[in-house]
């Protein structure tokens, strides 16, 4: 007989909702020269995909653009996916 599945208990897992980076139309690109490590981007990121070194996890970043809007130094630019270089 099959394993008992008594009720829907889910366990924590990275990528539980898939690689949400594929949702992106625009990708955040950080200009490290302009960045002053203020941390606003990481604080405002709804999905917590920006780490303490201000590296953005593009596997999961949905490309909402909040980081680019809120960056006081305008160090983040949203670039159309598919374009390999910043304009």
């Amino acid at each position: 007989m099959a394993e008992r599945e008594r009720l829907a208990i889910s366990r924590p897992k990275e990528g539980a909702c898939g690689n949400t980076g594929t949702w992106r139309v625009f990708r955040p690109v950080v200009d490290k020269e302009k960045c002053n490590s203020c941390g606003m981007c990481a604080m405002y990121c709804p999905d917590g995909v920006i780490d303490e070194n201000y590296e953005i996890d593009l596997v999961f970043c949905k490309g909402c653009g909040i980081c680019a809007t809120e960056c006081p130094k305008k160090a983040i630019e949203m670039v159309r996916e598919g374009n390999t270089t910043s304009q």
Partner: protein, 292 residues
């Protein structure tokens, strides 16, 4: 961010919409609450964005319950933890539909019974999970799928209903001010008894704006004075800085409406009504804060 741990309690990623402010709120709520926390979630956006069985994006126990039941389930949980001698935080995290409409009876009961829990209403001003139908919390004039011509009724004054329960702590907050909301969650959880937070949660698809503007819209709601930020400890009211500033020099309401597609077609008299309600609210808060 200062005051909270670097630990994230949401694994990358939920299936929330890009630019979702309720995800941002919850991320900071959980960081403020820490790991010994159980979240009770009624039907709302948060119940569908966790992931699909057998996986979840949340690295904290989440108990999903029926729409009207969050505060009552939390009551039972709080009583059980008390009987077990545990200090686990019980946080109900519910949308505006589950709070101001179908869930309000259970909330009122839980507050009256002095349940030791924190109830958080993240308010995106409509039934977001089912595609933006009107709720009691939808503001006048906003278009939803069930108010295609704009809502003709006013937003329900949830906070004064809650305040009438004379609870030890309640606060309003906004997703655009995460540091403020973290402080409020931490303060709430340091107090025994019923606590309530009402947090404005702008919704890009529902309010019809570009997802990159989530924080700006939230700030604008506060700067106009439309969304007032304050804390109430029993009957002592403290108005927070951004709202004090808005009371002195508010940003024009029209600037807030212009940013959102849901307010297209807003009529002059509706703006007058909304402004009147807003001014009355601020007047009452100010009077209360000044103790007169």
């Amino acid at each position: 961010m200062s005051g909270t741990s670097a630990t994230e309690y949401i694994c990358k990623c939920t299936s929330a919409c890009a630019g979702c402010s309720s995800s941002l709120i919850l991320r900071h709520v959980l960081k403020a609450a820490g790991p010994d926390t159980v979240l009770v979630v009624p039907a709302c956006c948060t119940s569908v964005l966790q992931g699909v069985w057998p996986n979840t994006a949340f690295n904290i126990p989440i108990y999903n319950v029926a729409f009207a039941a969050a505060a009552a389930v939390a009551s039972g949980m709080a009583a059980a933890f008390e009987s077990l001698g545990k200090n686990t935080n019980v946080i109900a995290y519910a949308g505006d539909g589950g709070t101001v409409d179908i869930g309000i009876q259970a909330i009122s009961g839980a507050l009256e019974r002095e349940t030791n829990f924190l109830y958080i209403c993240y308010d995106n001003e409509a039934y977001g999970n089912t595609g933006m139908q009107r709720s009691g919390s939808t503001p006048m004039g906003a278009r939803t799928t069930t108010t295609p011509g704009g809502k003709t009724h006013k937003k329900k004054d949830l906070d004064r209903i809650i305040a009438a329960h004379h609870l030890p702590y309640m606060a309003t907050a906004c997703s655009a001010y995460p540091q403020d909301l973290v402080k409020k969650v931490q303060k709430a959880l340091s107090i025994k008894g019923p606590k309530f937070m009402h947090i404005l949660a702008p919704c890009p698809p529902g309010w019809r704006y570009d997802s990159s503007q989530t924080i700006e819209i939230g700030k604008m709601a506060v700067k106009t004075g439309l969304w007032a930020m304050y804390e109430r400890e029993y009957d002592n009211l403290t108005i927070n800085g951004p709202t004090k500033a808005a009371m002195i020099k508010p940003t024009p309401l029209e600037d807030y409406f212009k940013m959102q597609g849901r307010f297209s077609g807003l009529k002059e008299e509706q703006i007058r009504t909304i402004r009147g309600e807003m001014e009355r609210n601020l007047r009452m808060l100010k009077a209360e804060a000044e103790g007169c």
